[in-house]
Amino acid sequence: MKPSTRDRALLLLTALLAAYQVSAGIDGFDALPIAAYTVAFGVLLVAALLIFILGFDALDSPIVAIVSTIIPLSLAVGLIHQRAASLRPPYLIFAIVGFLAVALTRSLPVPGKSPTIVLAVTHGIAGLTIFLLPIILSVQGKTQPLFSLVGVGGALIGVGGLLLSFLKTGKPILSRETIMRLFPGLLLLTTTCFVAGFKFGQ
């Protein structure tokens, strides 16, 4: 399925926003969060460019499940490092083990529901971290209120991930056409929330 002109414009804007975040939006952070956010927004940037170039069929590749895990995991690692220092080592271990587990269960012929369970657990924990942590912090007044936008971005990317996951399992919540029509807008809105949250909410 080919992206329309509107889709391409939205994808280009997403790529530009992600590029801004990588190049200027994370200056002044510690080394680990910089690395983690660079990876997360870098994947968003390259993904937007590849969908722009190859069309939505790029999302059919089996590697998408592995690559899309990188975004929430990296963001969550960065957030935990910055905002929940006591959880740094265990969360980093979870992120590495979770990613490796997803990569292995998606690359090797693993029988049963293990690949789905591993994916759901890894995505679930990382997604909840991105969704809840910024909102809790902003409600507690430990950050600016707009930092909660990062949580909104986490929720939105979770919605996108769910739509794509159910589509891939053959039990789509919405039709493929509807999902693809929504996807570029959802990706832009997600990226905007992340970028705005980091810019105005710290």
Binding site: T38, L49, D57
Partner: protein, 293 residues
């Protein structure tokens, strides 16, 4: 002939000649030249120099492209991809194309020499490698001709930097190497996609000489080395850490596609790498310019 039809005729002729300059390709090469100039961190907002650099480079590139088209008109007519070109279709007079190509080339190269001798020499080298070495001498003899085509394509960025600096330095050579190694991604993908066309025209290509696997490996390797050269050049320029991060991310995308091309080659991945490589080079040039601004 009425005055109206004369005007329309002139318009269509100008349009035909404009298409012979391959505006997108020439524009991208011109952009590399401007980025090379700006990378020198000289007084880049000297409008007169910028305009003269743009004009001289554009004329030299356009002139060499017109002459290439003129020389290759017989093989272009045999290939589906190129048979609609004005030269291949015989829409323009052959002698006139040769004269226009030569005049535009002389204006471009001459203007470059008038601006600076070393800059002019590099612009001339680019023209010479493209027209004489690549097109006239090697294109119909060996698939390795693309290396010389690549060297020619790398000259604008080196020329631009030399105009800014006044001498050749390792950063300029790295920038040129980045472009040189990027060009096979482009040309080899074309030669894979239009393999039959090239075979019909009797032009030796990597796929016809070494097979598809070796060609894919060559594309992947050249993409990775191109990115490495651009990163080295960016460090040499003293690029801001944030821009370096961004260049690293874009390079990682290129590496990933190159790996996919090597280990799980498909038509789509091939096309994706081809397009992404162009976006990569354009983005790298924009970063060099933004760095200075």
């Amino acid at each position: 002939m009425t005055a109206q039809s004369k005007i329309e005729n002139r318009k269509s002729k100008i349009g035909a000649y404009w298409s012979l300059t391959k505006p997108s390709q020439s524009g991208l090469l011109l952009a590399t030249g401007l980025a090379g100039y700006m990378s020198a961190r000289c007084p880049v907002f000297n409008i007169s120099t910028i305009l003269q650099l743009s004009a001289s480079l554009f004329f030299a590139i356009a002139g060499s492209t017109i002459l290439n088209m003129w020389w290759d008109r017989d093989i272009d007519a045999k290939m589906g991809r190129t048979q609609k070109r004005a030269t291949a279709k015989g829409l323009l007079n052959d002698k006139e194309i040769l004269i226009v190509g030569a005049v535009v080339s002389i204006v471009g190269v001459g203007w470059a020499f008038a601006m600076d001798a070393l800059y002019g020499l590099i612009v001339f080298a680019g023209w010479f490698f493209d027209v004489i070495v690549y097109s006239v001498w090697l294109k119909r003899r060996t698939c390795w001709s693309i290396v010389w085509g690549g060297i020619s394509g790398a000259m604008p960025i080196l020329a631009g930097r030399v105009l800014g600096l006044g001498f050749i330095d390792w950063v300029g050579l790295m920038l040129a190497l980045g472009v040189l190694l990027w060009i096979p991604t482009h040309t080899l993908t074309f030669s894979m996609k239009f393999q039959k066309d090239y075979a019909d025209a009797g032009v030796p290509t990597f796929p016809s000489t070494y097979g598809l696997d070796v060609t894919r490996l060559a594309i992947a390797l050249s993409s990775v080395l191109a990115a490495a050269a651009m990163i080295a050049a960016a460090i040499g320029i003293g690029m801001d850490w944030g821009f370096l991060r961004l260049l690293g991310v874009l390079s990682a995308g290129l590496f990933a596609l190159a790996a996919a091309m090597t280990f799980k080659p498909t038509e789509r991945v091939n096309f994706g790498l081809f397009k992404y490589a162009s976006v990569y080079m354009l983005a790298a040039m924009i970063l060099v310019v933004l760095e200075v601004i």
